[in-house]
């Protein structure tokens, strides 16, 4: 690839790329993100290729793999261009039919279209699917359109135009000013104003300066950073180069979890292509700017998402946090000023440059601007990645985009912000999602994990689960986090086992307060959130466990018993077959009974019982 020496070279290359492409040429774009890959996208791609060859269409139809669309629930998904037909849950055996439809008057394959569960109607275009209709996909919009391993695809959608503009006509101060005016706040969780951070960094006399992209996304169930790195790595690189120009850095790092092999691979390819094109390296686009990015893989510690621990890890030390101040922007990597931002923060920078700070600041609420990406999981019909403007209510999120709760069950709570976020009760469903409102409700924006819970979730058990996770992931450096999380988990376990006392609630509140107030880093300071919010909003559920030795959601195993209602049991023996401990007794065609001493309360019988004779009390 020839090196691009100037802005004109870049535009020439973009134009050449676009010219080489016939917009009317049919294209099959299959999502090859981690989710769709797991549900069979590689097989679909292979089958499509074979079918195209058989039909003699391989020259006239383009086949490409793209980034994640976010609707992983319905994977593998694909789009056919130029119509923009959206197929979901495609299997390899559907390939023939899809290829046939291309020459068959281009009528879509009806049965592979998304079916709206409420109306029963088939929907042809992606943007008409309710899951997408209410989203504003500023960062993720291009994921489904481009091949992440091909820089020309990114250039084709206007990629690196923001960089060229910045290099041609901006001063570094102006870039910082734009980021500030856009009101961009850190997307990694704490929501620190990015422009302010950049200003602090610019004020530091020390050199060299470093940039870091934090892609150590560790929250269980959260995968937006992975998706962006897999699907559109160049947008992150472009943001970092603009950052390097604004902040006077010559070297940048991206710290990716080693558990994201596809993201690492795609990012490596993108780095190589950008270097070959001269978009990274020396004298970028003839502007005199030198900048390189190195990729570092994390070793699996959740705490390394904390910026000082991440820096320690890059330096080769144990990933343990350091006290702040000094902040990394003052004294960071190798003791030098370092700006560390999340993947989505960096990817937002080109958007701000392209569309202008006023446009960006026009999205969202007074204190929280722009869009935020959430991973919507749990007891929800449409699981996936959702990009919405800040300030959207939980109700819109769950019922409009998420499609409501499966099985007609009642919403109980939403846990926002990852494992150390708080549980927001259903009564606060009209809460707008922004940094301030969430903090006030006892939760936090965090990385954007959103776990929906219904009436079958026990909130004490939920608090115990997250405490267990955080205890495991605490680095152990500071005493309150290491020992406090452990002791809180012990108390919660005791309550779940029906051995709690009412004093335990005060003890939990005291310990939670102390861990939050005195811990060294963000992990400990937020770790008690699940406990404190469930105590605040679901105290009666704790009291039921303690006073009545009862689990209202029927989750805590020590507090429930399984029995069979003899009048409903038809003696079909289905439960007997699935019971692994031989706890179910009874002849065929006669009512069965459960031996409580042998029963391990796994729930297998409950699932198979057709007449619903298995009772949980």
């Amino acid at each position: 690839m020839p090196r691009l020496q100037s802005r004109a070279d870049l535009e020439a290359r973009r134009a050449a790329g676009l010219r080489a492409r016939d917009p009317a040429k049919p294209c099959l774009a299959v999502c090859a993100g981690s989710g769709c890959t797991a549900s069979g996208a590689p097989e679909v791609l292979a089958a499509l290729r074979e079918s195209l060859q058989r039909a003699g269409l391989e020259g006239s139809v383009e086949l490409k793999s793209t980034g994640c669309h976010g609707f992983c629930e319905k994977g593998p998904v694909m789009l056919t261009w130029p119509e923009g037909t959206f197929y979901n849950q495609v299997a390899a055996r559907d390939a023939k039919e899809i290829v046939a439809s291309l020459s068959n008057g281009r009528r879509p394959v009806e049965r592979l279209l998304y079916r709206d569960p409420t109306s029963g109607q088939r929907v042809q275009r992606e943007e008409d699917v309710p899951f997408y209709r209410f989203q504003q996909r500023v960062l993720f919009g291009n994921n489904g359109r481009i091949d992440p391993k091909n820089i020309d695809d990114y250039l084709g959608v206007g990629g690196y135009a923001a960089l060229a503009n910045v290099l041609a006509g901006f001063t570094p101060e102006q870039v910082v000013d734009w980021v500030k005016r856009a009101g961009l706040r850190g997307r990694g969780g704490a929501g620190f104003p990015t422009g302010k951070k950049w200003e602090v960094m610019r004020a530091q006399p020390a050199a060299p300066k470093y940039l870091i992209c934090n892609a150590d996304e560790g929250d269980p169930g959260a995968f937006m950073d992975r998706s962006l790195l897999e699907g559109n790595p160049h947008s992150v690189i472009e943001g970092m180069i603009i950052g390097a120009f604004a902040l006077g850095a010559r070297e940048g790092y991206i710290y990716v979890r080693a558990e994201y092999p596809l993201a690492v691979e795609h990012f490596r390819v993108a780095l190589k292509q950008a270097e070959e094109c001269g978009l990274l390296g020396e004298n970028i686009l003839g502007s005199g700017l030198d900048f390189r990015i190195r990729l570092v893989q994390g070793a699996g510690a959740f705490v390394c998402g904390e910026e000082t621990a991440l820096i320690a890890s890059i330096e080769g030390h144990v990933g343990e946090p350091l006290p702040r101040p000094p902040f990394p922007a003052q004294k960071g990597l190798w003791g030098k000023p370092t700006v560390i931002n999340n993947v989505k923060t960096w990817a937002s920078v080109p958007v701000i440059v392209n569309r202008g700070p006023e446009w960006y600041a026009g999205i969202g609420t007074a204190g929280s601007k722009g869009t935020m990406v959430f991973s919507l999981v749990g007891k929800i019909n449409n699981t996936g990645l959702v990009e919405v403007p800040m300030g959207i209510t939980l109700r819109e999120m769950i019922y409009k985009i998420g499609g409501g709760i499966p099985g007609g069950k009642q919403l109980k709570a939403v846990q926002v912000g990852g494992p150390s976020g708080g549980c927001i009760p259903a009564s606060l469903i009209d809460l707008p999602i922004d940094y301030e409102a969430l903090t006030e409700a006892g939760s936090m924006m965090g990385s954007g994990g959103m776990v929906v819970m219904d009436e079958t979730n026990c909130m004490v058990d939920v608090a115990r689960y997250f405490m267990e996770f955080l205890e495991e992931e605490s680095c152990g450096k500071c005493f309150p986090c290491r020992v406090g999380t452990q002791r809180m988990r012990e108390v919660l376990t005791r309550i779940c086992q029906g051995q709690g006392a009412e004093e335990d609630l005060k003890l939990l509140e005291d310990l939670g307060w102390m861990v939050r107030e005195t811990s060294l880093c963000g992990l400990g300071q937020t770790a008690p959130n699940p406990v404190l919010t469930t105590l605040r909003y679901f105290r009666d559920e704790y009291l039921a466990h303690i006073r009545e030795r009862r689990c209202p959601a029927k989750v805590c195993k020590q507090l429930i018993t399984y029995s069979i209602e003899p009048t409903l049991c038809d003696g079909c023996h289905a439960c007997v077959h699935v019971c692994t401990t031989e706890a179910i007794l009874g002849e065929k065609k006669a009512a069965h009974t459960i031996d409580a001493a042998k029963c391990i309360k796994c729930g297998a019988c409950l699932e198979v019982c057709q007449p619903k004779a298995v009772l949980v009390t």
Partner: protein, 240 residues
């Protein structure tokens, strides 16, 4: 030179001073477990937290690692600080009830109840031994291994390090005495200093333990464990 206010008293200190040093200069007592004047600040025990006003909001920050900056407004004994210290000390007593240092601190800060079962841990992971070994003895023979609840101080891979000179600095500085001598077994113990003295400490200690002053655990661990009646008292299996 930065000028800050501590408990209403204005004080001007040299650049690079910590809030802990400034407060101690004013004679204000701030409890610490992981701090030592000769070692780099570590910020792990969190007992030295003070309330620092930052505009309309205030938060607790460890004084030992907080640089004294111009305009800081610090409270060393506000109700919030006292409550945090009490709760921390309650947790410390439950973790290492045998440590006299911790008992003294707990009684000084008015801890009257311990609502958690005692664990009799040997170590609070203040990291003093690790730092004195590296920074003052220039050895670096011991460090932290593992993570979270399994984190512990040890020499790499085996009990005795090749570079350990058995100087005993770690024993000397330990507030609860983790690396104490477990008897005169030269193969497995760290110091074995008792073998070189006459009379050897084994001669007058039944349960051979290091005599190096001030090893409070050695003096107190035995009798205290029997005297105290704890709710659900137990000595759990070692998680290490």
């Amino acid at each position: 030179m930065p000028k800050l206010t501590i408990n209403g008293i204005e004080v001007e200190v040299e650049r690079g001073t910590t809030v802990l040093e400034a407060a101690r200069f004013l004679g204000l007592p701030i409890p610490t477990l992981c701090h030592d004047d000769g070692l780099t600040p570590y910020g792990a025990c969190r007992l030295c937290v003070v309330e620092v006003a930052n505009g309309p909001r205030s938060k607790l920050q460890a004084a030992c690692t907080l640089p004294a900056e111009d305009g800081l407004v610090v409270q060393t004994h506000s109700a919030r600080v006292e409550r945090a210290r009490q709760l921390l000390l309650e947790l410390y007593v439950a973790t290492t009830p045998q440590s006299k240092t911790i008992q003294d601190l707990a009684s000084r800060y008015g801890v009257t109840q311990v609502r958690l079962a005692p664990e009799f841990e040997d170590c609070i992971q203040c990291g003093k031994c690790v730092r004195i070994c590296r920074e003052q003895m220039m050895a670096g023979a011991i460090d932290f291994a593992y993570r979270g609840a399994r984190r512990k101080v040890m020499a790499p891979f085996r009990p005795q390090s090749d570079i350990c000179r058995q100087c005993g600095a770690c024993l000397y500085i330990c507030p609860v005495c983790e690396l104490r001598c477990h008897g005169a077994e030269a193969e497995t113990t760290l110091c074995s200093g008792c073998l070189n003295f006459a009379p050897a400490c084994l001669d007058y200690h039944d349960h051979a333990m290091c005599f190096l002053d001030p090893c409070v655990a050695c003096e107190l661990a035995g009798p205290l464990r029997q005297d105290l009646v704890w709710p659900e008292a137990k000595r759990p299996e070692s998680p290490k």
